[in-house]
């Protein structure tokens, strides 16, 4: 079973050199740690920065420089700053190559729920609905099953939706899967030490198992 760092590490392998990537809060933020400098990947932060660098040292901390998770950050070489309207114009216009975000549930037709749990504290969707409705390519980092053993890869989402028919790929502690355009989770890779049967048991939605399923490789 992959831990959250390994999920992030596996997702990093999906990133193309030279691409522009938006990383959501949580596991997606960790992905940055596994992108080699030499790939020239540019990270976008939807609060108005293209070219997000690592967290600052104590001396570098600048309250006027934060990411979408409200953490202090730095700028990478060649960064640019802009307004929230310009930032979402960039996102909505399809200029960001890849969006990586977390999810509470994903359905077999690519719907995603990741912003609200009825009865729990109201927080708001932030930029999540804009990101899922606009991104060219989305990868979700999520837990395959909840702590009480319920599958989060469902036939239909039970939680309030963030977006519909928008998720293409999912990386969980158990597997890498694609959501097929015609519906269904196609199993691509399994975590070391696990079987197709494990993934089957953990997936409530339609699971498609091709002949050749690889083992997840981490460098």
């Amino acid at each position: 079973m992959l831990d959250k760092y390994q999920i992030a590490q596996r997702i990093a392998k999906e990133i193309k050199p030279g691409s522009y990537v938006n990383l959501g809060i949580g596991i997606p933020t960790l992905v940055a740690n596994y992108i080699p400098q030499s790939w020239n990947v540019t990270l976008q932060s939807e609060n108005g920065l293209l070219g997000m660098g690592p967290f600052p040292t104590e001396n570098e901390v600048d309250p006027d420089l934060i990411n979408a998770g409200k953490q202090t950050i730095t700028m990478s070489v060649g960064a640019s700053l802009f307004s929230s309207a310009d930032s979402f114009a960039m996102i909505r216009g399809g200029h960001i190559d890849l969006t990586i975000l977390g999810a509470m549930e994903v359905s077999e037709n690519g719907d995603i729920a990741n912003w609200k749990i009825p009865g729990k504290k109201v927080k708001g969707m932030g930029g999540a609905m804009d990101l899922v409705a606009s991104a060219k390519h989305i990868i979700v980092a999520m837990q395959h099953v909840s702590k009480d053993g319920k599958s989060k890869l469902l036939e239909e989402c039970t939680l309030p939706l963030t977006g519909i028919k928008c998720i293409q790929r999912i990386v969980t502690e158990l597997a890498v899967l694609d959501v097929l355009p015609e519906g269904g989770f196609k199993l691509l890779e399994i975590a070391p030490g696990h079987t197709v049967e494990d993934v089957k048991n953990a997936t409530e939605g339609k699971l498609i198992i091709p002949d050749n399923v690889l083992e997840i490789e981490l460098d």
Binding site: P56, G69, M129
Partner: protein
């Protein structure tokens, strides 16, 4: 006729009961701290506040919430404020949650004389309830409306006596659009310089949008999540 005001209290003195106010900032970054403090002193209530976030319990819009001055919040994310949660559950506070990009674009549209536009954010979700849905090139979009307010409070890094503004870092965020969408836009700046000092090519908000400008009384710039690079930092 000068746009320059001597302090925050004078700049916001005519904010009235039940006014709508846009407040710049993302989290606690780039928020109009001085205007908020002055508004708490000023004391009017039943306000509608349009701001991406609602501050924290004892800073930002949290101060106005605690003083019961806010009737309604229009925001995209309000998760960092316990008092907010309490007032919301007790029915003292209304909240209108809007996807962040839609909120930013609605404010931009309001300032730009665009009464309405179509955006894909929220299609198929509860955000779409009651909204016109329309298909363009095979994709579904929601009709969203331009947003303006009686006042806009913005925070800038540098400003000049004609109201031209330059923001710094990610403290820019919602401030430039809000500056265009307030009937009266009030800018608090860290540094106020004579007109002609700023390079015309580097100005983010042209002075026409700013009716009042003053030197911020305070620039506390509280940090929400002070995250420092550790030795173990990879990559």
């Amino acid at each position: 006729m000068s746009k320059v005001f001597q302090n925050s209290d004078l700049a916001i003195a005519d904010v009235f009961e039940s006014a709508s106010i846009m407040l710049g900032g993302f989290g606690l970054c780039g928020i109009p701290e001085s205007c908020i403090a002055a508004l708490a002193r000023h004391g009017v209530s039943q306000l509608t506040c349009i701001s991406n976030n609602a501050g924290i319990d004892d800073f930002g819009i949290g101060i106005l919430l605690k003083a019961r001055q806010v009737k309604k919040m229009i925001s995209s994310y309000v998760g960092e404020n316990a008092e907010f949660e309490r007032q919301l559950l007790s029915g003292e506070l209304e909240v209108d949650l809007i996807p962040q990009g839609t909120l930013a674009e609605r404010i931009r549209a309001g300032g730009a004389g665009i009464p309405a536009f179509y955006t894909p954010a929220g299609v198929g979700t509860e955000v779409a309830k009651g909204k016109e849905i329309r298909e363009f090139n095979g994709k579904l979009y929601l009709l969203e409306y331009g947003l303006t307010a009686d006042f806009a409070f913005v925070k800038a890094w540098k400003g000049d006596t004609m109201g031209n503004l330059i923001y710094k870092g990610t403290a820019r965020n919602f401030n430039p659009m809000m500056a265009t969408a307030g009937k009266i836009t009030i800018a608090e700046v860290e540094e106020l310089v004579p007109a002609g000092t700023l390079d015309p090519n580097e100005i983010h908000t042209p002075g026409v949008f700013v009716q009042r400008i003053f030197i911020a009384d305070k620039n506390e710039k509280r940090i929400e999540h002070r995250t420092i690079q550790t030795e173990s930092h990879a990559g």
